[in-house]
Subunit: 350 residues, 2 copies
DNA sequence: CGCATGAATTGGAACGTTCCATTTTTGAAA
DNA sequence: TTTCAAAAATGGAACGTTCCAATTCATGCG
């Protein structure tokens, strides 16, 4: 019967060495797999470790080589499925490279974000992928350059931070979905949701504007409404829009969850979405597929972005001198029902 | 201008001591806040650390005291919003206690789970909250008892592991939602989704059976179908059910995502859910509210479960000798449209 | 049988921190 | 001033590992 150590539970490399009748150096060689050690010795040491319930002490090890195989993944909003999928992509790639990702959620709190990142570097994380919380200032990240920690900013661009970046093609995506609405014949379009301070909103709204401009349509400033990027935010912004004298016939929303809030508000006002009014979102979260009517939106492949982010970070870890790199992920239009195109096609066919 | 260390980025307590003109012991005292150090000295040391860009090395520190303030949170399926919300509850409580949670996702892989947990204890995690992957055997967790690591099993009970446990009241919840369907007059009910090997399925199916039995209804073994707990699983299981000669009029699903798959299958067969057939789920994820028709389900307050799990783990960390404890979270019936109750009420009123 | 060569193993000095036992400083009482 | 206790600061020995240089052990060759 394996009789692991008593309650103190501190088996060290030295005790293994004693028990196996070798030196601690040999045990270390077995552990790291670096030197040349006779297969039978290796076996014996391995067995002894197992028998005594040995736990490798990474803290002690890092004291010497300072190369830990963990990376931090800091997410600003875990409750948003978009980020959960992003995280899955990150983990997939890191795992293959023999790294482990330790995630933490900041819930949009800069304070918490600082705390969590400090904890991570104190634990010797080799690198960090950061989806910055709202109001993150580039100065918050200066320590990374100084400490030589690989840092990559994802999803939300952070102008002024000279790091690698992985973001979706927000501008192009938004202009595509806007163009789609224009092609369906809409004249009066609104842009709804997201706060002015968000870079992502800037980009998406920029795409909206460029499509409007390209088509020669005029943009009514009254039809540009901010809101928190939540369902409730979308709901109240949409309610405000609908109380206007001159309502829009189509609404481009900041993201899917805002769009779903907007759809609820429209329904509450007795409008049939996809018929009386067109509403589109951004992100293509799994909810988008399942609301009724199904949401026309822009797919950005969060898993792919995560994979890319991880790959870029690894590159940076392995070559700290390398220049920061950017990856702009594709954003594809996904046509469903909420824009009215489907109904129109049906009508045309029937 | 703060001139942080060069590229090697290794500022130690000793360099701080030299620069501040004190001994390393004093710097240590400042860091830990333990001894008595003159306020002005403390200030000066703090400033020096700031100036040189000092990073505390937790690995080295833990070498002596072995008390790290991190705990691991191991999730089996991050893409399921239920677990994301659970994680948020865990973090909320840990943060207040000055702990940091490092999360990792196992994606239902036992191998990955072992890997991740090993990594966590190698890094000196004070405790671990585990939502076990499918096929986790209690033996997988024996190391925890041996090493004296606090371990808590959440969401999925693991019979035979003698750890603390936090789970929702699956049996009672399932019997409640089943009773609700029975009260609506259904005679022929199916239970659908989840694999036989899942403890949670056992519990929920048990609740289903107990409600059926209490009402004197007979249970047709042909109406008990397994499937993966995914949308696709629900879809195919439901398709199988609908191809039966003697169809059920109501279906209790393993969880919400399975139920949503089942609803899609029903719609594909031309049935109007909530009218031609009743379908109910379990968990009350945010999707449940937004599918059409909205899903009648059982709410289990994942955030609350997470908070409870964290609190229990902290208790265990602070008193390692304490007996394992269990918390069974409430499960409340949430009546929406997919069971037909709403439509019936409308008809009665009109 | 001695020797060179390479393989296998080993001792000891780091690594950055904490903590104990001391030493130094401070400030007030005698 | 001297004395003493309390407060503040310090040196050095751990902690568990890696890595270098050095040592021992096999093996094959002349």
């Amino acid at each position: 019967m394996p009789q692991p150590q008593g309650s103190k539970g501190k088996v060290t490399i030295i005790e293994i060495a004693d028990a196996a009748g070798v030196s601690k150096s040999t045990v270390s060689l077995v552990l790291t797999g670096r030197g040349a050690v006779k297969p039978e010795t290796r076996q014996h040491v391995l067995q002894t470790m197992d028998r005594l319930g040995y736990v490798y002490n990474r803290g002690a090890a890092n004291l010497r080589n300072a190369r830990s195989r963990i990376v931090g993944l800091v997410l600003n909003d875990l409750s948003n499925p978009f980020f959960a999928e992003f995280a899955i992509g990150v983990e997939k790639v890191l795992q293959m490279a023999g790294y482990v990702a330790f995630m933490a959620n900041t819930a949009e709190s800069v304070v918490r974000q600082d705390q969590v990142m400090r904890m991570m570097r104190e634990h010797g994380a080799g690198g960090i992928i950061l989806c910055p919380a709202l109001d993150t200032r580039p100065e918050h990240l200066d320590w990374a350059k100084a400490a030589g920690t690989a840092l990559l900013v994802a999803i939300r661009r952070l102008p002024g931070a000279g790091t690698s970046v992985v973001v979706p093609e927000n501008l192009l995506g938004a202009s595509r979905v806007t163009r789609h609405l224009i092609n369906l014949g809409h004249e009066r379009l609104a842009f709804l949701g997201g706060m002015h301070s968000m870079v992502v909103r800037h980009e998406r709204h920029g795409g909206f504007l460029s499509a409007m401009e390209a088509s020669g349509r005029s943009v009514d400033p009254a039809l540009n409404l901010e809101s928190m990027p939540t369902r409730d935010g979308g709901f109240s912004a949409m309610s405000a829009v609908l109380s206007l004298a001159d309502r829009p016939t189509a609404v481009v929303c900041y993201n899917d969850v805002t769009a779903i809030g907007a759809m609820l508000a429209a329904a509450r006002h007795g409008l049939v979405v996809g018929h009386d009014i067109a509403i589109v979102g951004f992100d293509d979260t799994s909810e988008a597929r399942h609301v009724a009517p199904a949401l026309t939106t822009v797919a950005v492949d969060p898993v792919g972005l995560g994979e890319r982010a991880a790959a870029l970070l690894l590159k940076q870890i392995n070559d700290p001198a390398a220049e920061p790199e950017s990856f702009i992920g594709p954003a594809q239009l996904v046509i469903r029902e909420s824009c009215g195109a489907y109904q129109r096609a049906l009508a045309a066919a029937g």
